[in-house]
């Protein structure tokens, strides 16, 4: 079919009209083969202008359109929509910029006209080679996998499941009549948590800044809502084993580790703990207390169902013991329990696996693990916590109350190379809490820099000063010694080396990536940053998106942050998913993508490593590369590198760009 091209040159009032000989260009364009209509218009972007274009399309039975005017960044979409309304595929439209890039920058009218003429010719040649692109939609799963049950994961879960969609079901009743019935469709969230309980680090902390409120109380409503929601499947003591697929359609395999206690039968009465003869240090209390082989991590942990530690349980290690089984009045103990791998289909994934504190033993100058009463911050948190090993009493190892405590800030910050941004505040909050419990205790806080970035932080800090906590600025070279009776903190101020004798030392180590991060990064083939946290798509604009479409990151697995920021990120990730994977709707794909012609591809795989969005994979059977158009963003880098010409960039093909070059180079 002979193409019938329409060209509309905008005068933009005097903006183009006074700077370029528009009529001369229009007259030239009329003579080009396949140009059926060439007209100028004072303002094609106006309502009247768009109607004019529509009329011309109908009158001239035009099949392709060029508009020469302002930058396409302004009204290209408007013109494309107009084409579509007039029955022309919007990708059979081309816009060329003769205002910002010609009229406004070229004072010589003849030169400006010559340049604009070339650009119009290039656009006409290009548009005649353009191909219609149909908007593609795919069926997607609205359900979501959330990995990690800390504050970020919980918030994402609740945001994702807060509202369903009204649907009308048409059913036949007994008499055979059809009746519409209102119903609702809900999105399901699979919340996978590695440990036996949800709530993350926040659940183990007594008092949180900036509000200084009780963390378990703050979290309780959220935890209960998550556990009770019908459309949330909470899978504690479970790990993700395999993820295949892409945005909209992932299949996930989840290993539910044997708990040996039935979640359905157990009522959480705790009668099984006492008879268990095994006692081992409870790592969740920082090793400060013992636990049994059947245990819950801490009192109040949810779900309130114990787990049997298979490494230490006598029965599971071939010995004769069934003390817990006998003690259970509800038949909930099941020694025959086995790991189970379940499969779930989801459209998107939120990674909220959290982080951990560096073990301060890495920095031997602080005597952690060497001297008694040198604690990591999380250990003091547990001593401080009413659900902790001492029921909230801050005690030395010998059971006595400390008379003096040194808080050392920025432990290992220099070595690790970044500020964790929360330690100054949680140390201050803890000092405040300890002072409330032990008003006479002397607290010395050794710091080199203070990080108080949020609007409430300064107030908290001043409260701590009011409590009589002494802040001592040192140069960050503190070390801890022991004189047989007391711990001695050696520190350097501007003038000299000094020391302070104390009963207890509390260290604030930095936040580092969790142990599981490598495994998940490998499973999903997503990158980690230089510190080992998940790398975000853009640290400012998309801090919660992984570079792989459909994978979102929230909370401290992206980098150190406080509770408020973790919650915001969880909510933001959920919001992004809600806006893309709508209940009952298909997912519209990016129209401008790259494609590989199977018949031409030689399987060299050059393109695979170039794709920044992991959109290309190798089909081993056919020995070719394949582009996943749910992941491709259409940059065309793979196309430029393809040695055989098998890769094609839609709307930016070799032929189209060549045609433009031919016109503008002359």
């Amino acid at each position: 079919m002979q193409e019938r091209i329409g060209v509309f040159v905008c005068r933009c009032g005097p903006n183009i009209g006074d700077k370029i000989y528009v009529d001369s260009i229009v007259n030239d364009l009329k003579n080009i083969e396949s140009v059926v209509t060439a007209k100028s218009h004072n303002l094609p972007c106006s309502k009247e202008g768009l109607e004019f274009i529509k009329d011309e399309i109908k009158k001239g039975e035009l099949t392709r359109i060029v508009v020469a005017g302002c930058t396409p960044k302004m009204y290209e979409q408007k013109f494309m929509d107009t084409c579509e309304e007039a029955g022309i595929n919007p990708f059979l439209f081309q816009m060329t910029n003769i205002r910002e890039q010609v009229a406004w920058v070229t004072p010589d009218k003849a030169l400006a006209t010559e340049k604009a003429r070339k650009l119009c010719l290039a656009a006409i040649k290009r548009v005649s080679l353009q191909e219609p692109i149909e908007r593609k939609e795919i069926e997607v799963k609205p359900d979501v996998l959330v990995v990690g049950g800390g504050v970020a994961g919980l918030e994402a879960t609740l945001t994702l499941t807060s509202k369903g969609r009204k649907i009308i079901l048409v059913e036949e009743d007994e008499s055979g009549e059809t009746k519409p019935r209102e119903s609702a469709q809900f999105r399901k969230v699979y919340l996978v948590e590695k440990s036996p309980c949800i709530a993350g680090v926040c659940g183990k902390v007594e008092e949180v800044y900036q509000t200084m409120e009780c963390a378990p109380c703050m979290l309780a409503p959220e935890l209960q809502e998550v556990l009770q929601k019908e459309n949330v499947e909470t899978l504690t003591f479970s790990e993700v084993e395999e993820i295949v697929g892409s945005f909209g359609n992932f299949t996930v395999k989840i290993r539910r580790k044997a708990r040996y206690v039935s979640e359905e039968a157990c009522i959480g009465c705790s009668a099984c703990f006492e008879p268990c003869p095994v006692e081992i240090p409870n790592q969740l209390n920082g090793g400060l207390s013992d636990r049994k082989a059947i245990y819950i991590p801490y009192p109040g942990a949810l779900p309130n169902v114990p787990v049997i530690d298979r490494l230490n349980c006598l029965h599971l290690n071939g010995k004769e013991c069934n003390a817990c089984e006998q003690a259970c009045a509800f038949g909930a103990i099941n020694f025959e329990d086995k790991d189970e791998v379940i499969e779930r289909s989801v459209g998107a994934i939120v990674l909220a696996i959290g982080s951990k504190l560096v073990n301060p033993a890495q920095y031997p100058q602080f005597g952690f693990g060497k001297y008694d009463n040198v604690l990591s911050a999380i250990q003091l948190e547990r001593l401080n916590a009413s659900n902790g090993p001492t029921s909230g009493k801050v005690l030395l190892k010998n059971g006595q109350e400390p008379e003096s405590i040194a808080f050392i800030y920025c432990v290992g910050r220099k070595e690790i190379g970044y500020c964790s941004g929360i330690c100054c505040m949680y140390m201050s909050a803890m000092a405040h809490h300890v002072k409330e419990k032990l008003p006479n205790v002397k607290i010395y806080s050794f710091y080199s820099d203070l990080c108080l970035p949020k609007k409430e932080d300064q107030k908290v800090f001043e409260k701590v000063l009011d409590k009589g906590v002494e802040f001592i600025r040192s140069d960050g070279t503190e070390y801890v010694d022991h004189d047989g009776k007391k711990l001695i903190v050696k520190y350097k101020t501007e003038s000299s080396l000094k020391s302070k004798a104390v009963d207890m030392v509390v260290l604030a180590p930095p936040i580092e990536p969790s142990n599981d991060i490598d495994k998940l990064a490998k499973l999903l083939d997503i990158p980690l940053d230089e510190h080992g946290f998940f790398e975000e798509e853009h640290i400012l604009m998309k801090p919660f998106g992984a570079p792989l479409e459909g994978i979102f990151i929230a909370g401290t697995c992206q980098g150190p942050k406080d509770i408020g920021d973790s919650v915001s990120q969880g909510s933001a990730a959920a919001g992004k998913i809600l806006s893309r994977l709508m209940l009952g709707e298909k997912l519209e794909l990016e129209p401008i993508v790259a494609e590989i012609n199977e018949d031409i591809c030689c399987g060299c795989n050059t393109c695979i490593g170039l794709c920044p969005f992991y959109a290309i994979h190798r089909d081993a059977e056919k020995n070719i590369s394949i582009i996943d158009d749910t992941l491709c963003r259409g940059c065309g880098t793979c196309v430029a590198a393809c040695p055989t010409g098998a890769a094609k960039a839609w709307n930016f093909t070799m032929e189209q760009i060549s045609a433009e070059i031919r016109e503008v180079a002359k």
Binding site: T71, D108, L111, G636, T637, S658, V664
Partner: protein, 146 residues
């Protein structure tokens, strides 16, 4: 009128450099009329063949502008461009084409002034170099078919 013939085919990425060129227009900064723009989604889309074809079709210079390193809308496209252009310039030298006829630079969406500066500098460079001499080696190749 000599300037008019010394065309400079200019590839701009859709996200930063194209908008940078628009900003030059918004600020009414004078730019040479022989700088002629072709928009691509990413500077990483610019195939070395495009540059060679531009010379073959009569261009005297080729300007490729992308987002600043680290700012690429597609994360790393412009890094690929650096590699390709460096290699291409070495190849062009072998064919007797001055390396200065190809310039790769970075213009962000706010850098109207930088766009105008780079465009004017390039025009000046090409004015000094003059038109590209006839190169038989580039004859007879249909780049659209390649």
């Amino acid at each position: 009128m000599k300037d008019k013939k010394l065309t400079i085919v200019t590839f701009l990425c859709n996200w930063c450099s194209y908008e940078g060129a628009d900003k030059a227009g918004n600020a009414r900064l004078e730019c040479p009329a022989n700088v002629r723009v072709i928009k691509v989604m990413c500077s990483g889309r610019v195939e070395p063949q495009f540059v060679i074809q531009a010379f073959k079709e009569g261009a005297s210079g080729v300007l490729i502008l992308g987002c600043h390193p680290g700012d690429c809308h597609y994360k790393k496209g412009n890094y690929k461009t650096i590699r390709r252009v460096n290699l291409l310039k070495k190849t062009l030298k072998q064919f007797g084409i001055e390396q200065d006829r190809v310039r790769l630079d970075w213009v962000s969406a706010s850098e109207g002034e930088k766009f105008a500066k780079v465009a004017n500098e390039m025009a000046e460079t090409i004015k000094q170099l003059g038109p590209l001499s006839e190169l038989n080696i580039l004859e007879g190749v249909d780049y659209a078919e390649a």
